[in-house]
Amino acid sequence: MARATKNVRKSGRRHPFATVALVAVGLLVTGAAYAGFSQTSATAEIDLNSASTISQGEKLFGANCATCHGAGAQGTKDGPSLVGAGAASVNFQVGTGRMPLAFQGPQGMVKPKQFSEEQTLQMAAYVASLGPGPGLPETRYLKGDGDVAAGGELFRINCAMCHNVAAAGGALTQGKMAPKLTGVPATHIYEAMVTGPQNMPVFSDTNISPQEKADIISYLKYIEEKPSVGGLTLGSLGPVAEGLFVWIIGLGAVVALTVWVTAKSN
């Protein structure tokens, strides 16, 4: 009897863990393949100046953007002119999914992007060909290896009042807001500074130099990676979230203890 069982085990075909193992292997393989795939797409090399890229971009633009921005990107009453907007602007707006807009509202929101990296760059090339504007940032400024202290000071002077000192974002007027800056790729942070998307002011290179921008990016990456030293961050939103926590959790505990202390034992 014992021998028979052993033989069945040895054949391995009906082992109870076989299915689990199979699923695990399957997940691993697809995961790895996906990681490999997304990495290759992130490093897509495209020549922004080549005529074929520009004409591809023009086609995409005509099909997707021209209703609001006009056939030659000269602008209509529904959308501003993009002449001189530059490649950085297109890469930011389309690359974060803000464009095409889901609807006209106080602010375009981040949403799943609708175009591949390649298509985005083709449109960027087309818009850049219409007039001089801020170009894509150089990768050496995006590494996050700048001067964190200097970046912190610049961030507090130029950015913190809208984006919150911990980069957690904040409210503006009439439904507009400054988004949080954690989890945002360095490229998009840089592009936002040079182009001033939505209601953000422009921080051109003459205002904050490319190296200073690199410092700010380094600072943002630093606070993103460093654990908070103060325990629960409560969203880093400051007194509102903290007050709510104290009122509900803190006072709730005090009330519960008071009720217990004064209740008659049974």
Binding site: G170, L172, S204
Partner: protein, 371 residues
């Protein structure tokens, strides 16, 4: 008798009142209300489970001493946490772990001993109701008469009410007594200079270049692209430059941060066609570039949330909004006055310079503010 009064109607109240002294009611009580709340007396004594069941009592006892032991563990734990999670490495993570473990252990120590003590008192200590009689508040008649006599005697001997001139002058002296305190407060303000003058002047002056905060690098008009916002300080307001200045040139502030707090400016460039300018201030801007004090006129927070499309500046403290395209007039919120504008122009090298100091004091209102 009281029982009767309660049962009979309103008409009987007078009768009851006449005979109330017999009821123990105070003399002069005209009406005995017939619906007064009756003293409910003590509720029936209810035994606790720990009184009825010795097993439960044992259990409560166990809970209490376990809690006390937990408290000891917590206290020792706090000591251990202090030793094993030191903040000496300079790592931020170390601070977090240190505070977290020391905190948890101390919370355990304090909460457990507190909860244990309360539980002991509630479940195990003797449980019986008793009444503490309240003592009458006034002292007895004799003591009160004695006291009154002391006062009358004191008044007579001192002549307090007889010599009214002396009395009134004493009252006057007592009223005047705290006044020096108020003047002493004045010494908290700068001694040798008039605080009003101090608040009216900043470091800005004719010809001072507008520079970036914090680097102090001067700004060329051509650097300012449309939609830009620059955070600006006077070129002379960097640590090295500041130490070389005279008090006059520092806008009256001895200290760097005071000077900076008054002088900070936000510089923006709008499309020239969007500026609505008063005729007498037309030359305060340069080619669509305008500069405004960053100090909110409400209570003085730095106003720097600039929305480039609406041209509104938002103050983060109480949500005042200022319209930059119209001399920073208030469009919303508690601020009452527009932000002061810094008149600017360019020098021959193309750098932005101030035409003068602000024409009105910056920041919130204060005494003797003329505008």
């Amino acid at each position: 008798m009281a029982e009767e009064a309660k049962n009979s109607g309103v008409n009987d109240a007078v009768v009851a009142a006449q005979s109330h002294s017999a009821d123990g009611a105070a003399v002069g009580t005209a009406v005995l209300s017939s619906d007064a709340v009756q003293n409910p007396g003590l509720p029936p004594h209810r035994e606790r489970v720990t009184d009825l069941d010795p097993k439960k009592a044992k259990r409560a006892e166990r809970t209490v001493y376990t809690l006390f032991y937990i408290s000891i563990v917590g206290s020792l734990g706090a000591v251990l946490a202090y030793m094993f999670f030191p903040i000496e490495t300079g790592e931020l993570l170390a601070v977090r772990l240190h505070t977290m473990f020391v905190g948890i252990a101390m919370a355990l120590a304090l909460l457990a001993v507190g909860i244990g003590a309360v539980h002991w008192g509630k479940a195990l200590m003797a449980d019986h109701e008793s009444i503490d009689e309240r003592h009458p508040v006034p002292s007895n008649q004799e003591t009160r008469e004695d006291a009154a006599e002391v006062f009358t005697l004191a008044d007579k001997e001192s002549g307090f009410s007889r010599r009214s001139l002396v009395r009134n002058s004493l009252i006057g002296a007592l009223i005047a007594f705290p006044l020096p305190g108020i003047t002493l407060m004045r010494s908290l303000a700068p001694q040798d200079r008039d605080p009003v003058q101090l608040l009216k002047h900043t470091m800005w002056d004719k010809g001072i270049r507008l520079a970036r905060d914090p680097s102090g690098v001067a700004i060329k008009a051509s650097d300012v692209t449309i939609g830009s916002a620059f955070h600006v300080i006077p070129e002379t307001l960097t640590h090295e430059e500041f130490s070389k200045l005279s008090l006059e040139e520092r806008g009256g502030s001895e200290n760097f941060l005071d000077a900076k707090a008054k002088a900070i400016v936000l510089l923006m460039r709008l499309d020239q066609s969007q500026l609505k300018e008063l005729p007498d201030r037309k030359d305060w801007s340069y080619d669509g570039i305008v500069a405004y004090s960053k100090v909110c006129t409400h209570v003085g927070c730095p106003v720097a949330l600039y929305e480039q499309h609406t041209h509104h500046l938002l103050c983060p403290c109480h949500q005042s909004q200022f319209d930059v395209s119209e001399h920073a007039k208030v469009v919303f919120g508690p601020a009452k006055r527009p932000l002061p504008q810094l008149p600017i122009t360019v020098d021959k090298d193309g750098y932005l310079i101030a035409q003068s100091d602000f024409h009105e004091p910056v920041g919130p209102s204060f005494w003797e503010r003329l505008k």
